[in-house]
């Protein structure tokens, strides 16, 4: 794997003293999908805007494909496509011309076949002569993606691509992202939908208050950070947890027929064997046992609230 995007100690502070980025460093491998998670105002959009040239960094270094974004901005930007968070399109222009403008802006000559291919891929071909204002919100988002892809970028930034989008379109969007990955495009997406990161990302970065709290392989992150739970279902409900099981820190559900045991997957001893023995010795009869892994969302909430790192 080669590094396609390298960010070193990137900082951005504004005249009023607000620090939007506090020394972010990150390497992104070619062909991967990185999801940047973070609450509103965490610095996700500032990070993307700075890499893409919309915001000037206060200090730090960013290279895209080895090209510095400031000293060699033309070569760097040619490799980048950006799909912004807000729908920003000229309402009276038609889809075709809007997409063609993007290709031209990036210095690429007329290539109708390429634009047609992009529009077809995004199910926009039938709408090519429609004015933007005639399109639905979902279609407008597709136009934004088509514009970003018109110049055949190697790195694609998707800034909250599914914010305010219905479930069906979100699934469509994930499919589009998967297809782009198959084409070898590196994708960095910001989101605060955890299931989005969980569904499509290879790696997950968590950003909060301008700092990158961690970047990790999604599976590793879930395995390392994730807590697992065992739900022990009893054949007969009980009124309270027997004293002999007090050491296990169990919780009892409302009906009284499920005991929940939480443990760390990466602990040396999970305590499962002891628990099951103790349950049996307490005279409780098991109906079923199942495990449940904490979701990225729970990991994320824990991280930004500072409970676990």
């Amino acid at each position: 794997m080669t590094t396609i995007l390298s960010i070193r100690d990137l900082r951005k502070s504004y005249a009023d003293g607000f620090e939007a980025l506090k020394g972010v460093s990150l390497d992104i491998e070619e062909g991967e999908i990185l999801a940047l998670l973070g609450p509103n105002g965490a610095g996700k959009t500032t990070l993307i805007s700075t890499i893409c040239g919309i915001t000037t960094p206060s200090s730090g270094e960013v290279t895209v494909g080895g090209h510095d974004i400031q000293t060699d901005y033309r070569a760097a930007r040619r490799m980048i496509g950006l799909v912004p968070q807000e729908i920003a399109l000229e309402p009276f222009e038609n889809v075709w011309n809007t997409v063609r403008l993007s290709r031209g802006l990036f210095g690429l000559g007329k290539d109708n076949a390429r634009i047609e291919e992009t529009l077809r891929k995004l199910s926009l071909w039938d709408k090519r002569n429609n004015a933007i204002k005639e399109l639905s919100g979902g279609m407008k988002r597709r136009v934004l993606i088509a514009k970003a892809l018109a110049h055949e970028p190697r790195v694609l930034f998707l800034d909250e691509p599914t914010a305010g989008v219905d479930v069906e379109l979100r699934k469509d969007m994930w499919e589009i992202v998967a297809e782009l990955k198959r084409d070898g495009v590196t994708i960095i997406l910001t989101t605060h939908y955890i299931e989005e990161a969980e569904a499509i990302a290879d790696r997950v970065g968590v950003i909060d208050k301008g700092e990158l709290l961690l970047v990790q392989d999604k599976e590793t992150l879930m395995a390392q950070m994730g807590k697992k739970q065992i739900e022990v279902m009893l054949s007969e409900p009980i009124a309270q947890i027997p004293d002999s099981l007090a050491l296990h820190n169990l919780t009892l559900n409302g009906v009284g027929d499920v005991l929940v045991y939480t443990y760390d997957t990466h602990a040396d001893r999970t305590g499962i064997t002891t628990l099951l023995n103790d349950v049996s010795q307490a005279g409780l009869v098991l109906r079923d046992v199942q495990t449940r892994q904490s979701s990225l969302e729970e990991i994320f909430v824990n991280l930004v609230s500072g409970e676990t790192v």
Binding site: T55, E86, A88, L105
Partner: protein, 253 residues
């Protein structure tokens, strides 16, 4: 230079113009005709001749300048303000283009549209009055330079403005009075001596005077001064654009 990008911006801006071609064409034809009816016929019948030219023909250069200047400003200011307002400016800022390439695209398109309207007015005027153009190259130079320089001014206004009210502030409160008091409808020699001196501080006087000279060979101020004035104005606008480019003022945070 990213010429492909400049062409793309230019083409995109012009396509808006072509979408409303009928409006772009008939509006100046109608307004010019109205000026001729009101000023040329009603007032002109009492004035007869100014500096050896019929009043109707005398006001033609001023009328063209009036429209060209106002349109250059509004085309260019809306051209760049619209992307700011809609948010589409993100694409310009993240594209491999520098600020001068953006300026050339937008200003070029704004100036082309204004030039087209200027020529339409000139053609319309020939239906009402006899026009002669003694110095066609000078006429073309003044017309093109005016389109370009005021488009540059419009671009600066579009960058500066943070709402639609500010967009119309400079054209309405500054430019319109300067044009009307700049000898569009009269010769400066018709004013009392004190006002003649005061008028010389109005930069538009030099513009209209020079442009009128290219038509009829007579001018309120020496032609060299007119040329220097328009060149200085263009230079000033370019300097401001250069400063915006350097500082990213109101564009890049």
């Amino acid at each position: 230079m990213n010429w492909t990008a400049i062409a793309a911006i230019y083409r995109f801006e012009m396509s808006r113009f072509f979408r409303t071609l009928a409006q772009s064409f008939f509006s100046p034809v109608l307004s010019t005709s109205l000026y001729f009816v009101v000023f040329g016929t009603a007032i002109g019948s009492r004035i007869q001749e100014v500096e050896g030219v019929s009043y109707g023909a005398f006001i033609v250069p001023g009328l063209i300048m009036l429209s060209v200047v106002m349109l250059s400003i509004s085309n260019a200011s809306f051209g760049i303000y619209f992307p700011k307002f809609l948010g589409t400016i993100y694409e310009l800022l993240s594209a491999p283009v520098n600020f001068f390439e953006i300026v050339i695209g937008y200003v070029g398109a704004a100036a082309t549209k204004a030039l087209f309207v200027g020529l339409v007015i000139l053609a319309t005027a020939t239906f009402f009055v006899d026009i002669r153009i003694e110095h066609p190259f000078a006429m073309a130079a003044f017309l093109i330079l005016s389109c370009l320089s005021f488009s540059l001014l419009g671009f600066i206004i579009g960058i500066w403005a943070s709402n639609f009210e500010q967009m119309s502030l400079v054209p309405q409160l500054v430019v319109t009075p300067l044009i009307f008091l700049g000898g569009t409808f009269y010769s400066i020699s018709m004013l009392p001596p004190l006002w003649q001196t005061i008028t010389l501080f109005n930069p538009v006087v030099y513009l209209i005077s020079g442009f009128r000279w290219s038509f009829y060979g007579s001018a309120d101020v020496p032609i060299v001064l007119s040329l220097l004035a328009i060149l200085a104005f263009t230079g000033l606008c370019l300097a401001v654009i250069g400063w915006i480019f350097k500082t990213g003022w109101r564009i890049r945070s």
